[in-house]
């Protein structure tokens, strides 16, 4: 039960983080469309790091 609540909290935190990364990346791409490739790569890397953190927490709590 408790680990389900924990998992929910992890998902909320991860979702907020991913949303912020995504929104800022979109803004940057809109501002500088010629740098879209670089921004995308950086976005994916940061997203992956965040994902690793969230998954680590999920797995540890399982």
């Amino acid at each position: 039960m408790y680990n389900l609540i924990g998992a929910g909290m992890i998902v909320i935190g991860g979702g907020i983080g991913l949303g912020m990364i995504g929104s800022k990346a979109m803004e940057s791409i809109a501002r500088q469309p010629e740098a879209a490739g670089k921004i995308q790569t950086a976005m994916i890397i940061i997203g992956a790091l965040l994902e690793g953190l969230a998954f680590g927490a999920l797995i540890l709590g399982k």
């Binding site: 790569t41 890397i45 953190l53 998954f55 999920l58």
Partner: protein, 368 residues
């Protein structure tokens, strides 16, 4: 040339599959279908684990399993024992005991145990853990190992053909190699070069390319109906993560170690603390996040795909057979496309982060 070869290979492969089909015909399982939520959950959990035989599907009406057995190689207290997995007769509950030169071997929930001396059946405690048996070290050619060998073979054939094409003096590849070449160039120019640096990236290309295509092909094989779940095995991803760690630890430059162990520009009191944090980061957290990311993504992907496929059974009461099948089909096709994207993305991210960490380790700082 390559295309005909691969077709031949596939034909041989399929024939090999069919020739083993009826290897356990006498084995009759309960004649019920997988149709309750509990059974579905168990089925999915079973799929996510490794298995000791190559099982394609079971015809429940006749109790025939389609697939073929794989060799079991275990290191027991009496030394190395090998036999075919057909000896277990598809038992996964520790009921069939294989006697190999006096060593009693049973399989329980896809793990192989060695019974203690004198025991005639597996006993369990309340949590369903066996009490009178010990785990053995299992070097079997399991389904995952088989998948890895297959991947290795595919990589060897594909890239061997590409390399041979170049050697023949043809500067532009033909056929399937034409697909592989841009991927190789992508890994080199978009992943390795910018992260590791122009000077040193060449030393790591072998590892990065191998790992990229290894993960990519295994991810894609996992989406095929053959039912592999290799990159969803924690042991496999752990091995990949530890490989990356070993590589960047052993190729770390003097600057890197100086900065990790005795960070300049920080008060001396803080330096040991920072060193501990950095060391834990490099030796534990980074490889752990690498391996857990890959494992969790692929496992979650398989889980979601299979759950959506199971919708056609669980929703049958609500939508009727046609409606539930349609919903399940649309949703699984949709999620399948996402999973193909994830297969590429995870291979990319693993390679990308590996090269990022390697780049951090080999970077030479200017004198401050």
């Amino acid at each position: 040339m390559v295309a005909t070869k691969s077709i031949k290979f596939l034909v041989v492969f399929v024939l090999a599959l069919t020739s083993f089909t009826a290897f356990a015909q006498e084995d009759v399982v309960e004649n019920n279908l997988v149709d309750s939520p509990d059974e579905i959950r168990e089925y999915i959990a079973h799929h996510l684990k490794d298995s000791h035989d190559f099982h394609l599907y079971t015809d429940n009406a006749s109790g025939t399993h389609y697939g073929f057995p794989l060799p079991v190689i275990v290191w027991t207290s009496n030394g190395l024992k090998t036999f075919m997995s057909s000896a277990f007769h598809h038992d996964d509950n520790g009921e069939v005991i294989v006697d190999k030169d006096g060593t009693q071997i049973v399989k329980y929930h896809t793990k192989i145990y060695e019974l203690e001396k004198g025991a005639t059946a597996l006993n369990f405690d309340e949590e369903q853990h066996p009490t009178n048996a010990s785990r053995v070290i299992d070097f079997s050619i399991t389904k995952s190992v088989f998948g890895m060998l297959l991947t290795g073979l595919l990589m060897f054939l594909g890239f061997g053909a590409l390399a041979r094409g170049y050697k023949k003096g043809k500067t532009i590849p033909k056929g399937f190699s034409r697909v592989l070449e841009p991927l190789v160039i992508y890994v080199r120019d978009e992943i390795a070069r910018p992260n590791i640096g122009e000077k040193k990236y060449r030393n790591f290309m072998g590892f990065l390319l191998t790992v990229f295509f290894f993960i990519l092909i295994l991810n894609l094989l996992g989406l095929s109906p053959l039912g592999f779940n290799v990159t969803g095995q924690i042991a496999v991803t752990a091995c990949l993560g530890i490989f990356t760690m070993v590589i960047y630890v052993f190729s770390g430059s003097k600057d890197f170690w100086a900065h990790t162990l005795w960070m300049p520009g920080v008060p001396v009191v803080l330096r040991p603390v920072l060193a501990v944090i950095e060391l834990i980061g490099f030796l534990v957290i980074k490889p752990f996040s690498l391996l857990v990311r890959l494992y969790a993504n692929i496992t979650a992907g398989h889980f979601v795909v299979m759950s959506l496929m199971a919708l056609m059974i669980t929703m049958k009461a609500a939508f009727g057979p046609v409606g539930s099948t349609g919903v399940s089909l649309i949703l699984s096709i949709f999620i399948m496309f996402i999973e193909i994207l994830v297969a590429f993305l995870q291979a990319f991210i693993f390679t990308m982060l590996s090269s990022l960490f390697i780049g951090m380790a080999v970077e030479e700082h200017d004198e401050h």
